[in-house]
Symmetry: C2
Subunit: 142 residues, 2 copies
């Protein structure tokens, strides 16, 4: 089982509106292109825990802020907040297969994630367990 | 020179936040994966005219609303508004190489476009001309 990966992303200022990097085929963490889709999560709401058997996730937050927590079999591997609103938090989270992922909306407005997924959506290659199965960490995410 | 293509996209309601389709590798208009990046455009601001020599653009609006106008050598080919806020306007615009593209932010909030580009960014394969070179259409976009 490989480890999750965080990669800083550039946000390039231009006068009429910024350009924000997401994922290049040559980037670390790229594992093929199956599908790009968006997930929204309401402020204070938590989605999870879900793991994929074959899909590698490449996650970029393009609106609001979203806190991600990643577990292995039982151990917490990562607790990180993604957001386009600050340079430190504008970064991509790569999640290889077989890790449990939960995420929470951190703003009252829209919280939007892009997933550049290595394979197309297939419900047979993922499983979801109840949120109570792993603790949601206290305090603020990294 | 091939024509621009509009493809309806699904927005799937879920209790804690929707899932919105973007692009699958098996979709009409997919021409390979080079890079996924975001462009923002301020309300009332217009970016253009730009054409790519080799890149196919696959454009999805994930926040606000963005009006796209596409020209061939001289003739207007398309005038369309993309937005996740209405089912009719949540659709993907595919732009093959060699067409001129301009776009304008249509809301006072964030107007955000995802481009699933067929090749990575390369300034040598695109050119930009002044906005005055083609008329911006009157009225509202389609």
């Amino acid at each position: 089982m490989s480890a999750p990966l965080l990669t800083p992303l550039r946000r390039i200022h231009t006068p009429n509106g910024d350009v924000l990097h997401g994922m290049k085929a040559s980037d670390a963490g790229y594992a093929g292109f199956g599908e790009a889709y968006f997930s929204m999560v309401a402020g204070g709401a938590t989605k999870g825990w879900k793991r994929h058997f074959r899909m590698t996730l490449n996650l970029v937050c393009i609106a609001g802020a979203v806190r991600f927590v990643v577990y292995g079999e039982a151990e917490q591997l990562l607790d990180v907040t993604l957001s386009p609103s600050s340079p430190e938090r504008y970064r991509r989270l790569t999640v290889p297969p077989m890790l449990w992922v939960g995420f929470r909306g951190e703003t009252a407005g829209d919280n939007v994630i892009l997933n550049v997924a290595s394979i197309p959506h297939d419900p047979a290659e993922a499983e979801t367990i109840d949120l109570s199965r792993f603790p949601w960490p206290d305090g603020e995410g990294g």
